[in-house]
């Protein structure tokens, strides 16, 4: 089942490096990780790709399941889709030099995101403006930009799926543009194209518009910023040291158009700061995101129109695959904004014409995501829940994770589902099951 692959492929575990310390178990928001037989780790099919386990692992045993540079398909025309977060990794360097460096790394085209970010902003503003009259979607609308947030909602807050702004994400717009214009361009000469997403986190690829089982029509490969950084940094240094003015003819208008508005997107709040919305919020960090989603589910924030969520602190700058410290990167972005200023460059009327044609509408995706997790999350019956409560009465309730599950409740769930056994619990093994338990305070 390809849905299974998609959802489980964000991180990889190196069993040789793993010490079994259980740090990753505790930070996983969907409780997707278990440790069995001391080291072997298995992912229950619930990974949303937040990367918290990568951050938490003291042994470096968890890595993003991105490809490395060897994955560059030599016989394909390589197109790099560049997130503005990359620019923030080179404080004091102009984006054009960074893009130039990428082109020296055999990426024939470097697609800067600025264009598509502006398109998204225009389209989102328009949707929100109309929603004030039509009330088609409930307030507050939630930004669809961070894919981890959307997966988190699909998995843990399915009732909020209707709040996700139904506008295509900038990455999706960018990939579509490549498919519409660059691929046909090379089709004439019979050359094949491969897309490379250069990402600050394990999940920025947009495979989400595919149906389950559907394969991408061209190779789409995710590279982490950390994967390409050493080589890119060398090229960038040489470009800056050279006296010659680099000459490069770009074929498509969005290959070198980095703007201040786009660099701002790397930071938390960067999406909404220049949007024409009355009441909006920017929330960053996984814990805060979950806390706010819980509040929205309980009916709060209905007076807010739009909330930008990023599960990484400080926004995409805090992505786990970045190289430069997020606060240094933030200061680099602030300098860039000073230099470029904010403000958009695309003509609004053109975008609105496309909007009328339905060019920004999402299809399939939300329902597909719901199914993805819906299939895997089998509900527990009343009897099973009663069994879980009984098991919890026996367990100590310290959430020590020595059994290999993140906490006692999850462990009890695993037992009821037949995936664990009571004797995996150290406490039960040491003291037996018959321990009389003090009344619970929780």
């Amino acid at each position: 089942m390809s849905a299974k692959q998609n959802s489980a492929c964000f991180v990889r575990f190196d069993e040789d490096l793993c010490t079994g310390c259980a740090s990753c178990l505790r930070v996983c928001p969907t409780k997707a990780i278990r440790i069995k037989k001391k080291k072997s780790i298995r992912i229950v099919n619930r990974c949303i790709g937040c990367g918290e386990c990568i951050r938490a692992c003291p042994a470096g045993a968890v890595r993003a399941a991105t490809s490395d540079l060897e994955a560059l398909e030599k016989d394909h025309v390589a197109v790099a889709l560049v997130s503005p977060v990359l620019y923030a990794q080179f404080p004091g360097v102009m984006p054009k030099d960074i893009l130039h460096g990428l082109r020296q790394m055999d990426f024939q085209h470097t697609i800067d995101m600025s264009y598509f970010l502006e398109m998204f902003q225009f389209a989102s503003e328009e949707f929100i403006k109309r929603n004030r009259e039509t009330h088609n979607a409930p307030w507050p609308l939630i930004s669809p930009v961070c894919p981890v947030v959307v997966r988190l909602i699909a998995f843990q807050f399915p009732s909020l799926m209707a709040h996700v702004l139904p506008v295509l994400r900038p990455v999706a717009l960018m990939a579509r543009e490549v498919k519409r214009r660059i691929i046909p361009f090379y089709m004439e000469t019979g050359e094949k194209v491969a897309l490379y997403y250069i990402n600050p986190c394990p999940t920025k690829m947009d495979l989400t518009c595919l149906e389950p089982g559907e394969q991408p029509t061209i190779p789409e490969i995710a590279l982490g910023i950390n994967d390409i950084y050493p080589e890119l940094a060398g090229h960038v240094r040489r470009i800056r040291e050279s006296d010659a003015i680099p000459f490069y003819q770009t074929r498509f208008e969005y290959e070198t158009c980095a703007t201040g508005n786009a660099s701002m997107w790397a930071m938390s709040g960067g999406e909404i700061v220049d949007m024409d919305i009355d009441k909006s919020l920017a929330v960053s960090g996984l814990e805060e995101t979950i806390a706010y989603l819980q509040k929205i589910e309980m009916g709060l924030f209905q007076d807010i129109e739009y909330i930008e969520f990023r599960t990484c602190r400080e926004g995409c700058l805090g992505g786990v695959l970045n190289v430069v410290d997020k606060y240094l990167a933030k200061s680099a972005v602030q300098k860039m904004i000073k230099m470029f200023g904010l403000g958009r460059h695309l003509p609004r009327e053109n975008i609105l014409r496309l909007y009328e044609k339905g060019d920004f509408q999402t299809e399939k995706r939300p329902s597909r995501l719901l199914n993805l997790f819906g299939e895997q999350k089998e509900g527990l019956s009343i009897e099973s829940m009663q069994k879980i409560e009984k098991i919890l009465d026996v367990l100590e309730g310290r959430d020590c994770a020595a059994c290999g599950a993140p906490d006692c409740r999850t462990f009890a769930e695993d037992i009821v589902r037949g995936n664990a056994s009571m004797k995996d619990c150290l406490w039960v093994r040491a003291h037996g099951k018959k321990k009389s338990k003090a009344p619970s305070t929780g």
Partner: protein, 146 residues
């Protein structure tokens, strides 16, 4: 009857932890894969009830009882009670103190919202002795677990 009951403690005037009991209830229901729409309604009711208990009640409890045909959500507290229940059920009526309003609470929509989002609501209160709000959510026949 093979009902499943779970109860969560609510601490009076603890605004930092307010909402936690109803989040616990939500997580509990989510692991049983109840319909998201139903969970949302229960979340809203639970939160409104919990806030009432935090603001006006003494300590209290939020409990959920699950049967094959219905869910019963109950919020009880040992607070000063409601003088006129009919009045309290009206939208906009509030006895919240200024300090609550400053925090954004006390708009007088608590009980009306609970009524709107539940299938059946019973409010019992005696002055000086506390309040019990019981809400019932009927499950679709055979389709309780989606």
């Amino acid at each position: 009857m093979s009902g499943l009951k779970k109860s969560f403690y609510i601490k009076a005037r603890d605004f930092n932890r307010a909402g936690e009991a109803s989040i616990n209830v939500q997580n509990f229901l989510k692991s049983m894969n109840f319909d998201p729409g139903l969970i949302r309604r229960i979340a809203i009711c639970g939160y409104e009830g919990e806030m009432n208990a935090v603001m006006h009640g003494g300590d209290g409890a939020l409990s959920i009882e699950i049967d094959s045909d219905k869910l019963v959500l109950e919020i009880s507290d040992d607070g000063y009670g409601i003088e006129d229940i009919e009045l309290a059920m009206q939208a906009g009526f509030s006895t919240a103190a200024d300090e609550h309003r400053e925090m954004g609470f006390g708009a007088g929509m608590g009980l009306p919202n609970m009524k709107k989002n539940s299938d059946q609501i019973t409010v019992q209160s005696e002055k000086g002795k506390g309040t019990q709000v019981q809400m019932i959510f009927f499950l679709n026949q055979g389709g309780e677990i989606v």
